[in-house]
Assembly symmetry: C2
DNA sequence: CGGGTTTTGTGAAACTTTTCTCATTATAGT
DNA sequence: ACTATAATGAGAAAAGTTTCACAAAACCCG
């Protein structure tokens, strides 16, 4: 599971970019917290954990904050990502590509066992699965997105790990079994809706 | 933020369905934990919080567990959901519809300001935004999915709340501002990838 | 039918995360 | 230059979560 501290730092990064675009050069923990939906103390603690300091009375300088955050998240390097499963979700992600995948993260290739999908017009080139090794090595890919149906997800996962993938973003509604050194991040869209339904009913 | 306790219960529900399909009728906290990727103690604590009990030496009966979990998450009632923004992600979700949206959760309508999107062949009918009130009331919808670009997300959010929506699953990469009684669940796909990149680099 | 084994349920302990509190200090205004 | 103000940084407290440890109960086997 991704630590919330890390998720918040990424959120701050997003907010800071927005503030920068609006022309601000400095920011207070209060304003950043407000924008990111957390308390100012939380912002300062999150920063202090990573050794980020500001100035009493003058807050934090946005530009240097962004530089530090980009270093923490290695956003100063290029990260090539591949995608396995060109179904609806996979295709949607492929079409978005540099649109919503953040700075310096690039979807370089998609994979699907269905030859028909390999010709489909998407934002990225689509290959058969036997090209996995070649492309993972060629593009130095260490992160993959799994958007295949749940029945084949574990098999695809094993295959990817075997080919050298170290981090996986999994959209298939199962818990992937993987060695501890592999980072697995599961997103289950049904679960996210069901959780909302739960909280709505709690309020009544 | 959704409590992890709740996410795990939903995960257990998924695993139990699988075990049921495989023909099992009883299960131990150890097996369920193993499948869901958590410790057996955690499984028992999660259950005990919600008053779910099993039998010493005989574990838990899958069928009754599923009934209780379905009650907790109100999956015995129908939940109609709408979707605003028929871009790539929105269309992908619409096409999946009853496929991956869990039991008794239905995507009943999509909305988009672009008339061209209103004719597009997707899994659900697509309407202009001025039909929001009508359909929210007609289908008794209280949950909405936002898949519009970030610039319009807050405006759409306000609009939805104004029309009676109480729970929002937001895919736009901003933190939505909403009253405390509104349940907002943010999914930022870039962030999920970036978090993986972070952890991969931590290992080195 | 009774002893041994296995598994639950839970209270306590350990750990993690968040909030509180306040001394410290940079800044702006007088 | 001095004072009042406003903001950080960090230690302490509080709250929340997970793991530990073990008594109690149910089942199995002899």
């Amino acid at each position: 599971m991704i630590k919330s501290n890390i998720k918040r730092l990424l959120q701050y990064r997003l907010c800071l970019t927005k503030f920068k675009e609006l022309g601000y050069s400095r920011i207070f923990s209060y304003n950043l917290g407000n924008e990111a939906g957390v308390s100012p103390e939380q912002v300062r603690k999150d920063f202090s954990i990573h050794g980020i300091t500001g100035n009493k009375k003058a807050g934090y300088e946005i530009e240097s904050l962004l530089i530090i955050l980009n270093q923490i998240f290695r956003m100063d390097e290029i990260h090539n990502v591949i995608l396995v499963g060109m179904g609806h979700i996979g295709t949607a992600l492929a079409n978005y590509n540099n649109h919503f995948i953040g700075q310096n993260v690039y979807l370089v290739a998609g994979f699907d066992m269905d030859p028909a999908k390999q010709n489909k017009k998407t934002g990225i080139p689509v290959f058969p699965l036997d090209k996995l090794s070649e492309l993972i090595e060629g593009f130095q890919v260490s992160t993959a997105i799994i958007t295949v149906p749940p029945v084949s997800a574990q098999e695809v996962c094993n295959n990817l790990i075997d080919k050298g993938i170290k981090g996986i973003l999994n959209f298939a509604p199962i818990v992937l079994k993987a060695p501890k050194n592999i980072i697995v991040n599961n997103i289950n869209l049904s679960t996210e809706i069901e959780a909302i339904v739960y909280y709505l009913n709690q309020q009544k």
